[in-house]
């Protein structure tokens, strides 16, 4: 550190009398450099602290308001932040059958778990094949997926709805219906995991193949054990995705409140039903959704970061 600080702090003085060039280390400059550094760091700390407050504030507010009693105080939006009296009224309401919150929560959990499993299998199959194998039609498949990806997602909403309706998977059957929709085209999101497979040396496969291993064996025994980060990333994405889907979920469940997922249910509490009573309940419901997902996310954060950065760099 000290050495680096000194290097640029050299004044070059040409000594005409002696006819030489001298390097002078002015001591005051060294000190001012350090002071400058300290001031910069201090201002960075200030900025980072402000940023942190802005980033955390909404979540702190959310938690605070979820503890406001809707019986003794107001359940809607009020002009103060910290509840006069902390209570668990809203959380108690969530666990009553009339609120249907538990039902929505289980629905979403089932969808998320099933999606995480099937989606991972689909995505890894497609990306493995496109990364490791060369066959007729490979380029065609990749170009086709690229072109299909350019269509906006909600364009096909009605078509999908009626497809599901033909299969009897709307309203009452919304849960399997949603799983089907989420999972069916998930192979199109192969890019990030293909990028990962591309970095595993092909010589590994080839030497195994020479020893007589089948493609399936190579996939199961050589590639998969090396791909733990990307497998976890894919599972994480598959699991987190369904929690946030409002659009398809509300369209497919259409009017059947037993088939809602949490996003649809809470969105209704926030927007279409009586806002005054349901605002703090929304907060409580939101907290209960956010906690497990956030914990899961932070446990697996390393894999998420690898996936995101890898995806961004390779494009």
């Amino acid at each position: 550190m000290a050495k680096e600080d000194r290097i640029p702090e050299v004044d070059i003085v040409v000594d005409h009398k002696a006819g030489v060039i001298r390097e002078v280390h002015p001591p005051h400059k060294l000190r001012s450099r350090k002071g400058h550094e300290r001031r910069v760091n201090a201002s960075i700390y200030v900025v980072l602290t402000i940023i942190s407050i802005i980033w955390l504030a909404p979540f702190v507010f959310l938690v605070l308001q979820s503890f406001r009693s809707y019986i003794t105080e107001n359940g809607g939006m009020v002009s103060y932040l910290i509840p006069k009296q902390f209570s668990l009224d809203n959380y108690r309401f969530l666990f009553q059958p009339e609120s249907q919150y538990l039902r929505w929560y289980t629905n979403t959990l089932i969808i998320a778990l099933v999606c995480a499993v099937i989606q991972t299998i689909m995505v890894l199959s497609v990306s493995y094949v496109l990364s490791r194998m060369r066959f007729r039609g490979r380029r065609f498949i990749m170009n086709m997926i690229l072109v299909l990806g350019m269509f906006p997602g909600f364009l096909t909403m009605i078509a999908l709805y009626f497809l599901l309706k033909q299969l009897g998977l709307t309203q009452q059957g919304a849960i399997p219906g949603l799983i089907l929709i989420y999972v069916a085209s998930s192979g199109m999101g192969y890019y990030i995991s293909k990028g990962f497979f591309d970095t595993i040396p092909k010589s590994l496969d080839e030497s195994a193949r020479i020893d007589g291993a089948t493609r399936f064996y190579v996939f199961k025994r050589i590639i998969m054990p090396l791909s733990k980060p990307i497998v976890i990333y894919t599972i994480l994405m598959g699991f987190m995705g369904p929690w946030g889907d409002y659009v398809f979920a509300s369209y497919v469940a259409f009017g059947k409140s037993e088939s809602y997922n949490v996003a649809v249910g809470l969105f209704r509490w926030m927007n279409t039903r009586d806002l005054q009573g349901y605002f703090t309940r929304f907060c409580a419901g939101g907290v209960l959704v956010a906690i497990p997902i956030t914990i899961l996310f932070f446990i697996l954060q390393r894999y998420y970061v690898e996936g995101v950065t890898g995806g961004a760099v390779k494009g």
Binding site: V129, F151, F219, F297, Q301, G315
Partner: protein, 479 residues
């Protein structure tokens, strides 16, 4: 970068002509291929034995007769299913595809007699066409199989047994095993619906033509004319306004987040800054918590009776509530600002990874040359970041054009405006407008038109990227 763009646009006409020529040559090659296929089919029939000839009518007969029972049965089953499908289901839909149905649904004495259902005719009509193409392909494979089998037997070798076939599924044909299910899913739930919706853009399918009560039919390009016409408070001018805002939004959402996110990353990663992990974790909270919780809550925070307004009023900083969501311009700015809150963490993560990869000696020599912080940023960090994240920037631009969640959860596209048609609001993107058209107005024909236009915009941007950045193209180089 700038001269690259310029060069790209100068060379555009040349590229277009070349592209067209390639297309023509592809079409030529396609017909040539069809010709040679037909010739081969005839040849196989003329020179083949009786087993092969029967296979022209009964698929899989040849395979079965030569002892490849599994293949024979599968071919035969496929043909059976296809014939039954066409006979009892697909055929009738296919026949009505030209008109999308003519028999109206009528109600007489409270008894409804259902006529044709244009929706199902269109959907199953497309499905039937695809089934027919698949059948022709399989039929061709069946004939080829016969030809190959004959040759193998003639040369005195043995045919593949069913066991060999199954073994190949895990080895030489492993890609087919792995791709079968994903491709079927993509086909049924992406390709089919997309083709359906593209065709809907050429019909009059809307609230007054809703099956099963009413029929809809082909109307040619009239929906595109409605959407792209100019003048007055109609769809044409609304479309151009929404499009303009979509592009402005995408620009700010991409580049503002990009530079601010990079700055935050540089600050956190600066030497001497402690608690790096803590700062990062705090920012990443917005990624971890589902958007419908955080964004809905934030949108209520900015409401007229929300926390921000009530506190500003209480402290006496303002006299009346700030119109965050009720004034068009305010709403647009608010959304862009809140989006920074969502976007910075992603960029921070990405930039952190890249910043660590910048060779440290670059900075070292810059310091020796006496460069200050701004200069090192402009000459080293920024060019390096832009170089590495070039593809990401442009894909995220496209992502923002289609950024439904942020707009929908924050403002719902509002505030509404009398100047805009089709219930569009000031903050509506094309994609949220499409959603409103589908769900609220059931104006499917125009929703389909918007979808196609978004596709065209995306495709143009993508093609530009593809031509400007060679690293996207040279897939094998990377490996």
């Amino acid at each position: 970068m700038a001269h690259k763009f310029a060069r790209f646009f100068i060379s555009l006409p040349g590229r277009l002509v070349r592209g067209l020529l390639t297309l023509v040559s592809w079409i030529g090659a396609f017909f040539k291929k069809i010709g040679s296929e037909i010739a081969d089919i005839v040849q196989t029939f003329v020179h083949g034995d009786w087993k092969t000839r029967v296979s022209y009518v009964v698929m899989g007969f040849g395979s079965f007769a030569r002892g490849q029972y599994l293949r024979g049965i599968l071919f035969f089953l496929f043909q059976l299913v296809f014939n039954l499908y066409i006979l009892f289901f697909g055929g009738s839909y296919l026949a009505k595809l030209g008109t999308l149905g003519t028999v109206q649904t009528t109600t007489k004495n409270r008894v409804t007699t259902y006529g044709d259902n244009s929706f199902l005719i269109l959907l199953y009509g497309i499905l039937t066409i695809f089934f027919i193409i698949a059948f022709i392909y399989t039929w061709r494979v069946n004939i080829k199989q016969n030809k190959i089998s004959e040759q193998i037997l003639k040369s005195g070798k043995k045919l593949q047994s069913a066991k060999d076939d199954l073994g190949a599924m895990a080895d030489s044909q492993f890609h087919k095993t792995l791709l079968a299910l994903p491709m079927l899913g993509i086909f049924m739930f992406t390709v089919l619906p997309i083709i359906f919706m593209v065709l809907v853009a050429f019909t009059n399918y809307d609230y007054s033509h809703q099956p099963p009560g009413k029929l809809f039919t082909w109307v040619g390009l009239s929906n595109f004319k409605t959407m792209l016409s100019v003048g007055g408070a109609n769809f044409g001018s609304t479309f151009s306004q929404v499009l303009l805002w979509t592009l402005i939004w995408a620009f700010f959402a991409t580049f503002l987040n990009y530079f601010l996110g990079m700055m935050v990353a540089i600050m956190i990663n600066k030497r001497g800054i402690k608690l790096k992990k803590m700062w990062r974790t705090i920012l990443v909270m917005t990624i971890a918590i589902p958007q419908f919780v955080s964004l809905l809550y934030v949108s209520k925070m900015f409401a007229a009776d929300g926390l921000i307004n009530t506190y500003l009023l209480k402290w006496g900083w303002i006299d009346k509530a700030l119109p965050f969501w009720t004034d068009g311009t305010w709403a647009r700015i608010t959304i862009i600002v809140i989006n920074i809150w969502i976007g910075i963490p992603y960029l921070m993560l990405i930039a952190t990874g890249i910043l660590m990869n910048i060779p440290a000696d670059l900075y070292e020599s810059a310091r020796i040359d006496g460069a200050n912080a701004m200069q090192t940023y402009a000459k080293i960090t920024l060019p390096y970041m832009l170089f590495v994240t070039g593809p990401y920037l442009l894909t995220s631009f496209i992502g923002n054009i289609n950024n439904f969640n942020v707009i929908f959860l924050l403002s719902g596209g509002g505030p509404l405006s009398m100047e805009l048609a089709g219930n569009a609001g000031y903050t509506d993107l094309l994609i949220t407008w499409l959603y409103k058209m589908t769900v609220n107005d059931t104006n499917y024909k125009l929703a389909a038109v918007i979808g196609i236009i978004v596709f065209i915009i995306t495709a143009v941007i993508n093609l530009t990227v593809y031509n400007l950045i060679p690293s996207v193209r040279n897939e094998e180089d990377f490996q």
